[in-house]
């Protein structure tokens, strides 16, 4: 990874802000659930914060992302506003999707967050289409398809990579490999050790990176983004990471390897980056504490606003099914 670009101090701090927002937000979601104030299936991205944070510092608002049910980190890193996100989590009329999407279908086109899907693997064909649109527009926009290791085995993965490579589309296929597909380990679902080698099958670069390392993740993502913007086509990135909760919050993850789990938690990427910022003199303890307190305040305000917001009117059932309501 030595020949990849490295983030400068300001960029590292930006990555930390995004990662901290994701971590604190995730902790608050789980707290609200445990307090019985939020009822939803929730797929925690805790442990995977660095991946989208280090990627999205090289993206613009009008670059596209498609993500999946475990995608809160991707959305916050891309700029999803907290208030309308929380309103949507709570199923309120003020949510980004008027309470009709929920956490598995959050959408916010203003920041390029085009599709969140609950179907494993389905982010890829649509992100490929967005890449096609971006190419036709000729505006050097890129399209990111987020997915997990489990999705690397569905047919849509292969169809999408092949089409994007064939048409030289500005798409980045970002496999966030947390080594578990729901309850199934990578070893139990495939014989290969790295999904990135599949890039070669379709004629695109494939690279495996430590997704929890902000330097590596930033560098590999930046190169892929620049390649896409230059019209050179797609890249498959396999970002290695670990999820800190079960597949679904509420299940204990007994199927996970205990040693690997303990080891991963011992190298929690967000506090590691925090310490590095202090050690390298990029930010003081006080400055970081202020950032964290500010995020906490913003989350609290978003939760309070969501709780106070009305539920959608039942007339919404018929609205948005079609462009014009049909009796």
């Amino acid at each position: 990874m030595s020949n990849y670009p490295k983030p400068d101090a300001a960029t590292l701090l930006e990555i930390y802000k995004k990662a901290t927002l994701i971590k604190q937000n995730d902790e608050r979601v789980i707290r609200q659930m445990k307090a019985g104030k939020l009822v939803t299936p929730y797929y925690s991205p805790r442990g995977q914060e660095i991946i989208p944070s280090a990627l999205s510092v090289s993206l613009d608002d009008d670059d596209y992302i498609c993500t999946i049910y475990r995608g809160g980190h991707d959305m916050l890193a891309k700029g999803f506003p907290l208030d309308i996100m929380w309103a949507e989590l709570a199923g309120r009329a003020t949510g980004s999707c008027k309470g009709k999407g929920g956490p598995m279908h959050l959408t916010y086109p203003e920041k390029g967050i085009m599709v969140t899907t609950g179907i494993v693997g389905s982010s890829m064909p649509i992100a490929t289409g967005l890449g096609w649109a971006a190419k036709m527009d000729g505006k050097n926009r890129v399209s990111i398809a987020n997915f997990g290791d489990g999705a690397s085995n569905i047919g849509a993965f292969h169809e999408s990579l092949n089409l994007a490579a064939l048409w030289k589309l500005p798409v980045i296929f970002l496999c966030q490999n947390n080594t578990y597909a729901e309850h199934t380990s990578m070893q139990d679902s495939t014989l290969i050790e790295q999904y990135s080698i599949r890039g070669a099958s379709y004629g695109m670069p494939g690279v495996t990176v430590n997704g929890n390392d902000p330097d590596e993740m930033y560098g590999v993502a930046k190169v892929a983004i620049e390649r896409a913007r230059a019209g050179e086509g797609p890249t498959l990135i396999e970002a290695m990471t670990f999820r800190f909760n079960g597949h679904l919050v509420g299940e204990a993850g007994h199927y996970m390897d205990k040693d690997a789990y303990a080891k991963a938690q011992g190298v929690d990427p967000v506090p590691l980056l925090r310490q590095r910022l202090i050690d390298d003199g990029i930010a003081s303890e006080d400055e970081i504490a202020a950032i964290e307190a500010d995020i906490d305040r913003r989350i609290t305000a978003a939760i309070e606003a969501a709780d106070a917001a009305p539920f959608p009117d039942t007339t919404e059932l018929k609205r948005d099914v079609f462009a014009h309501e049909i009796a």
Binding site: G99, K100, M114, V115, S122, P125, I126, L130, N162, F322
Partner: protein, 342 residues
Amino acid sequence: MTDTDVQNANADANVVAKKMTLIEAINLALADAMEADPKVVALGEEVADKQEGGVMGVTKGLSTRFGDDRVRSTPISEQAIIGAAIGASIGGYRPVAEIMLMNFVTVAMDMITNHAAKLRFMSGGQTNVPIVIRTMTGSGFSTGGQHSDYLEAWFAHTPGIKVVAPSNPDDAYGLMRSAIEDDDPVLFIEHLPSYWTPGPVSRQHVPIGKARVAREGNDVTLIGHSRAIGDGLAAAAILEKEGLSVEVIDLRTISPWDRETVIASVRKTGRALIVHEAVRQFGIGAEIAATIQEDLWGVLKAPVKRLGGAFSPVPFSKPLETAFVPSQDDIVATIRHLAAAG
């Protein structure tokens, strides 16, 4: 109509073609739509001229005229085709995606029913998916169980996607223009055995959701779409000689279907028969029959009847394949029976 005639027709938007096949009508509609709106693009297996403009030549000439960027042949990858269409549509384009044969939609069902049909609703109206999915089907070519199914009921049962099935070249042209301009995803079902049947084309848009009274009558209403209309009109001509007056309603759009036109007709005749090639069980005839009976209980002179395909996969052997589809004789006999009742 020759290629030159089609080109001449293309040159003058006001021309009314006297005779055009369904293939030529759809081709003309695609060409006119692409001419009218640079955001209209086409993709699918073999749709470009390098691959001869589609397996039946429906998209012939389009890539030569509009360029390979706007008319793109794809690998055999149905999920990627529909996914690319969805992505391009939420990125501001109006893609027309071809799924060669209707049975192949099974490979792309996730993209169609979970994504194309739902993204508008699930996003609270922030995104819409203005795509057209063109596909062809119909028994009669001894293609067996995996190349002949009518699957319109699956999609009519799915909120968020419109389903269109023209029975003649004029409607095919007009419905295609409307489908491409529609902000919702539209499944456009082309009847393969009718591809070469010629008819006039007026180059007018046909509104989605509006049925057509193909023939007026007073004794029995026949309701259908696609291939059922040709058979229904032929049956009506036979029955006329017996003094029976049959009204034929061509649904044209299956979802949303035109209840007003259907109910008004059955209110007048008091008798209804629904005909479709898709298997009868759980077919769209059940929905239409139930609605008629709910709305017109007390007005009906006889129970609503349905004719549909046998509850079997479409068979290969010719006599079996012929027996699978409701025949013109079946239609005639059922209408006689209906007229005799009450």
